[in-house]
Amino acid sequence: MSIASDKNLKGIPMKPYDMVREGLIVFTAITVIVLFLAAFWGFPGKNYRPLTIKEVATKAPVAFLKRTLSYFDGSSGLQTYGPPYTHDYQNAQSIGPFCPACWLGVIFPLNAKVDLVMQPLQQIADLNPAVAAALKTYQQASPKQQAAWDKAYGTALGKAKVENGQVVLPATGDYGPVPVLMNGMLTFARAGLLEAALTFNTNPSMAPYETDYTRALFYLGGNIMGTVADHFGEDGGTWGMSHIAGPYPAAWWLWPYTFLYQVPAIGNLNQADLVAFVIWAGSLIVIMLIPFIPGLRRIPYVIPVYKIIWRDWYEKYPSGDPSKSANK
């Protein structure tokens, strides 16, 4: 045996053993258990396909338009997110001077108005002359006029009704060309083309190999995805990523981490993600260093579970020392 084993096993009685045989038996047993679980419970993702923009635009057109308008008029949180998307460094999560997001900087610059709305609108304009005319009118208007139209349209959306799938705004109000533009986005989304356009526009020179779905995944972020997540009980306040849609177990091993978000003093912080991770990572480091931490490394002696684990051994050698057997 190795030098370490010779030293560690000095004076220890040995018994015959076959490691590979035992390994194969356990592997077979575990494989059978997994196959059984897979056969009876399947994969939870089967019934919970991605939420598509087409689906939202069709079933909840007002919510879709509100989200689109928030990017269009610049009121979405994404436009002031901070690094890595925008230069609003004051919004980056930090603990005093500890601001890892700031150190990395804006490595994925995102202009939500342009990237998520204006670029698709330009493509829609290529297909639809009415949208092209409305877009031209909008772009030629003063910023003040644009803001007034955006505001009036946003207010009207709050009172909008859906009739036969069409969004009907209150008759009064000066919305300018905004309804035509927004309806253009709605029609485009209902045709199932918006995700593809957002992905293509990420880097047209990469088409058809572009696989960065940031823009498409962002589009429904905020209230829309939050509503769906609430339905499944998946928001951060209900243990977030540690469980999934449907009646299945999931990433329960994240409980020590997601638990931290349930503590109001942490979960309500602006920098909750950073604080939670620092605590989690710090705890992991403490656990790793238990062999060197005087109080913690004594816990197994104080809670003597080892006496149960090695009960046969202690029956034979009460002190644990094989040179002093019970018969002596």
Binding site: I30, I33, G45, A101, I303, D312, G320
Partner: protein, 200 residues
Amino acid sequence: MNIDRFLQETIRKHMTLEDALPTKMPEYVNSFGYFFGTATLSSLAVIFISGIILAFWGPDWWHFTSVGHFTNSVHFWAVEVFYVSVTLHFTFKFFKAAWRDGRWRTWINGWLIWGISIFSGISGTLLQANWDSQWNAQQGKDAFNALGLSFMNWMNYTTVLTLHVVFFAFLIAVLVVAHLTFVRNESPVRPIVNEGKDEK
């Protein structure tokens, strides 16, 4: 220095054939507590095997064919069994104070594997290509951005796939081999003597 001779000497001193393929074991290795390490390794093997099959056939196959769906289910449940096994494994190791006699590197190495497995698991969740992937990508971005890890773009499917099946898988495989090497080199930790009163 003759490198071959050095390696021969090192292996002879630290990993003999009897260590690698033991035909005898200390008498105290006689408890169900020893089962969980092997169970963890076995479930990891099922994860790797099912993962390799999934990699060959791709997302459409695992979502829309019955065999693919079943293989995906095997991968998912193997992960669940892995975490149950590893949780029991480190719980028993803790109550055996298994870091004694210089085994601290095995203890640290094990927790390192666990920590990396968390990131590997998250990348796997994002690869599911379902609602949960979408929601977790949306939620997880805030945490990863806050930590300065945004360079790993979790919304780029190619990046996530490569990290999951190459980077994390490779790291875990290497550290598991190291873990097993430490374990076999050092032999199973001895039962605590005299209720630990003689130990610091």
